[in-house]
Amino acid sequence: MASETFAQLVGLSTGVLLLSGVLLVWRRSLHAQVALLATQGVALAVLVLVLGLHESDAELLAVAALVLVLKAVVLPLILVRTVARLGVGVREETPVINTTASLIALSMLTMLAYLVSRPLLTLGDGPTTTAVPVGIALVLYGMLLLATRRHAVSQLLGFLVLDNGIATVAFLIAGGVPLVVELGVSLDVLLVVLILQVLTSRIRTEFGEADLDDLSELRD
């Protein structure tokens, strides 16, 4: 692959990753958020595919397929099922901070991401290394979602955005982690999401809704 095409494709896929992250924080409808998460999964898989083709690495191509199946299909499907089981009234949510404040926070976090990734840029100057701040930004977006959303499904989404961010950093900066680690990590993420799904339905049967503000019995 010509190096210019490679740079453009890396830029395109990381751009989609970042944009879907921004939209995830912006939108309130859980359905739209899950669709955006699936888009993000596809973009990540494309990024891995491009890296694999560029380096002619068969292992990375296999990982690209794994990422596509897990992050673009399986995990969003689990979330779609969780959302479908919720009552109609709770499919949108009111975040702790309003949309304007969320978007301002996003821009701050993006700048922060570029600031904190400065030491990492010493590792190279290719198109992959310069895109690393996108991954860090996604990690921070995930934390923002976790901190400002009170709905159980939104917290799940936040966790998955954070995980996508870490995966983006891993692929951009190190060409992915060793295969055995990649497999183990994917399995762990899948199981965590399944557990949180079960807990979401238990919260709903016990507390009525899946609003985490009700979880306040344990404190000192």
């Binding site: 904190v116 030491p119 990492l120 010493t122 590792l123 190279g124 990690v139 934390m143 976790l146 159980a152 917290q155 966790f159 954070l162 995980d163 870490i166 950093v169 891993a170 900066i173 190190a174 060409g175 982690v177 060793p178 055995v180 680690v181 183990g184 990590v185 399995l187 762990d188 199981l191 965590v192 557990i195 949180l196 079960v198 807990l199 238990r202 919260i203 016990e206 507390f207 985490l212 979880l215 306040s216 019995e217 344990l218 000192d220």
Partner: protein, 476 residues
């Protein structure tokens, strides 16, 4: 010798599959005890191997057992045995799901200490979140669900941060021309890692594993999870899970120190350690719930361990390892005893329990002995390890931090003994006929507490082992 390395993992896997398929009541009942015995046996055998200066490996070097790994495996086995055997209550049989999850927990923890790869260590630590999530939510009450939710979300996010650190470390080794996550490779070849990347990586990894170790300010899941889980599970989490998370911090530190020195990690660990000690001591003063009090005591002990790691040096690290063993045994016994108090009294609210030694000596005496051990009174090994950590810390120039730590240990001592004395001796001993039933097997608690009492005096091979294990981490 590779068989010996694989034995604990194979035993846990095979037993878990057999339990899940057969659903045999007898098997479900004893299977965790069997697995714990296997883990303990292989741990002791591997300690012998490590003392002979061998480091057996398996699976192409993915698993590797040095003195530190062998010691940690012994800790997992002995604490696991205490909790599993102590949980054999004839009146409250556990179902097979519970046993399978406990087996997965033991297997994952064994994998974490046997692996010679930071990535595999991470996978194993995260796997324990998965295994324990449903055990925390076992009772299915509102509080149990709340605790389980907070535990899974905070735990997963915390270790995800650690994974980001591991990824950055891998990137640093890759750009140095030797992509690896193995600490034995890094320790022998010393690749030329970029210090600025390693600095970020180490900070993130330590922050992440500190969440799992229950260090303040990332501790908020711990009292909830420990108080809502069934008592033996609380014992396992406190004695094994926190210890293994601490072990992960030690490994990360050993990798990063040669590249970036001790300054950054010492700052992080001293802050977390002092914050944990202070917070635990202050919150125990007004604590009302028995199991939450024990949970804060775990945070206190983890804070002390963080200070020991910050200090470094052979004395403090050897003291920390002895402390991990003593705390694991004493805390799991105390949690098991607290579960029996709950079974007998129907409450864990300390204000509702009076004169327990006179009324129910069968459960009160083991609890009392366990608390005395946890408070760090001689002859229990926690006394010696606390002295070793404080002296080691002062030697390494952490005098003021150690002074604050000792002060907080004293506050904790007063606060906890006040609660426990009121519970065990307070009130009128009205009962004419004391209930001597132990509410479960007595022997595991006796053995665990006796081991805690004796181990501080056993010099010889044990001291050599601790010294070897500390030197694995490059202590001078």
């Amino acid at each position: 010798m590779a068989t010996l390395v694989l034995l604990p993992l194979a035993a846990c896997t095979v037993l878990a599959i057999a339990t899940a398929i057969l659903r045999n009541r007898f098997l479900s009942r004893y299977v965790v005890v069997i697995a714990a015995v296997v883990v303990l046996g292989s741990g002791l055998a591997l300690v012998g191997v490590a003392l002979d200066d061998h480091t057996p490996t398996a699976l192409d070097g993915l698993l590797r057992v040095d003195a530190l790994s062998a010691f940690m495996l012994t800790v997992i086995g002995s604490v696991g045995l205490t909790a599993a055997w102590g949980a054999l209550d004839p009146l409250r049989p556990r179902d097979h799901v519970y046993s399978v999850l406990a087996l997965l927990f033991l297997g994952a923890m064994s994998l974490a200490v046997l692996a010679d790869n930071l990535g595999v260590l991470w996978i194993a630590v995260e796997a324990t979140t998965i295994a324990t999530a449903f055990m925390v939510g076992h009772h299915r009450t509102r509080r149990a669900i709340e605790a389980a939710w907070k535990y899974v979300v905070l735990g997963s996010v915390g270790v995800a941060i650690a994974f980001l650190g591991i990824v950055l470390l891998y990137a640093a080794t890759r750009s140095a021309g030797q992509p690896t996550l193995s600490w034995s490779v890094l320790a022998t070849t010393h690749p030329d890692l970029d210090p600025s990347v390693v600095r970020v990586a180490a900070a993130l990894a330590i922050l992440g594993f500190a969440t799992k170790a229950g260090l303040a300010p990332m501790h908020s899941w711990l009292p909830d999870a420990h108080s809502q889980a069934p008592a033996p599970v609380s014992g396992l989490m406190s004695g094994v899970l926190l210890a293994v998370a601490f072990y992960a911090i030690l490994r990360v530190q050993a990798i990063a120190t040669p590249v970036i020195g001790t300054g950054l990690m010492r700052g992080l660990l001293v802050t977390a350690g002092l914050l944990s000690l202070t917070l635990a001591a202050l919150l125990v003063i007004r604590q009302r719930d028995l199991k939450r009090m024990l949970a804060y005591s775990s945070i206190e002990h983890m804070g002390l361990l963080a200070l020991a790691a910050a200090a470094g040096g052979r004395l403090a690290i050897a003291g920390a390892l002895l402390h991990v063993l003593g705390h694991g045994l004493a805390k799991s016994s105390t949690f098991v005893a607290s579960g029996r108090i709950l079974a007998a009294e129907g409450t864990t609210t300390m204000a509702d329990i009076h004169g327990l030694v006179a009324r129910r000596p069968g459960v009160a005496v083991p609890f009392l002995v366990g608390v005395v051990a946890l408070l760090g009174l001689p002859p229990f090994s926690l006394f010696f390890s606390e002295v070793a950590i404080v002296v080691g810390g002062v030697q390494q120039g952490l005098g003021w931090a150690m002074a604050v730590a000792v002060l907080m240990l004293l506050v904790m001592f007063v606060a906890m003994s006040r609660h426990v004395v009121a519970m065990l001796f307070g009130g009128a001993a009205a009962a004419t006929d004391p209930d001597r039933a132990p509410y479960g097997p007595r022997l595991p608690l006796v053995l665990a507490l006796a081991a805690t009492g004796v181990v501080g005096f056993v010099a010889g091979p044990f001291a050599t082992l601790l010294d070897r294990a500390a030197s694995v981490l490059g202590g001078s």
